[in-house]
């Protein structure tokens, strides 16, 4: 079960690549896929295992941190820059993410 559509995932990958000033490639698409998996996972856990909002937020932080490390390693970029790019993308998606997941997992800017 996917959280975003395939087109949306490509847009997320493109957004990350733009913020990093890199060409869109498999590392950016993999991050988009990981964020999608994480949000779908949290939604399922909230529905079936009563995950609290806090648990969802911790898990998303965990996945984001992990994705930052793998993307910065594969692109040889500073982690600070990569973290800023991924956080930037998530911030731009705050409305749609919170609406689809059904609770405020991302803080409203």
């Amino acid at each position: 079960m996917s959280f975003f559509s395939d087109d949306e995932k490509i847009e997320i990958g493109k957004g990350i690549a733009d913020l990093l000033k890199t060409a869109l490639g498999s590392p950016e698409l993999r991050v988009a896929e990981e964020v999608d998996d994480a949000l779908a996972f949290i939604k399922k856990k909230r529905a079936h295992e009563n995950w609290t909002v806090e648990m969802g937020q911790i898990y998303l932080e965990f996945v984001t941190e992990n994705a930052v490390a793998t993307l910065s390693a594969s692109r040889k970029l500073k982690k600070k820059k990569v973290r800023k790019a991924i956080k930037g993308i998530l911030t731009s998606l705050v409305g749609v993410v919170n609406e689809r997941i059904g609770f405020p997992i991302l803080p409203t800017p």
Binding site: E49, I58, F62, E65
Partner: protein, 150 residues
């Protein structure tokens, strides 16, 4: 004349050695060994969490969990301190900080589950544990790949 040539060659050899040494991969066998030990402990602990699901042992507050987190957090502090101290491994500090954050988040998630159980289940589900385990293992392996510790 021969002495001068010999001294010149020796100087060049030393210069070449210095240049090659400065280009070599950063090394710290102790940190590498510690990360490998942590990875082995992770495998044992996360597998035991999955096997013991539904019992007291899989809780964040169980004796097994407390021991694991005390040891892991202590080892992580040592790794961060060593890498911070050894300037040559500074590039790895970011990755190691991510690993440290991932451990903290995994522990926080376990504790949050125990504080807010799902009915009578005070533990993370096996698929959640596996998910955390795989990502932490991947990050640990990534740090090992980026730096030659031997």
């Amino acid at each position: 004349m021969k002495i001068k040539q010999f001294a010149g060659r020796r100087f060049l050899s030393l210069l070449l050695f210095s240049v090659l040494a400065s280009c070599a991969e950063p090394t710290d066998p102790q940190t590498g060994a510690l990360l490998a030990k942590m990875s082995e402990r992770d495998d044992i602990y996360f597998a035991s969490l999955i096997r013991s699901h539904g019992t007291e042992k899989c809780r964040a507050s169980s004796a097994e969990s407390r021991k694991y987190w005390v040891e892991t957090n202590a080892d992580m502090r040592v790794v961060v301190a060593r890498i911070s101290a050894l300037g040559q491994l500074d590039d790895n500090l970011d990755d190691v900080t991510s690993l440290q954050n991932n451990y903290k988040q995994a522990q926080a998630l376990m504790e949050a589950r125990e504080t807010s159980p799902n009915g009578t289940d005070y533990c993370l589900a096996p698929d959640t544990v596996a998910n955390l385990w795989v990502r932490i293992s991947r990050l640990n392996a990534l740090i090992g790949e980026n730096v030659t510790f031997e």
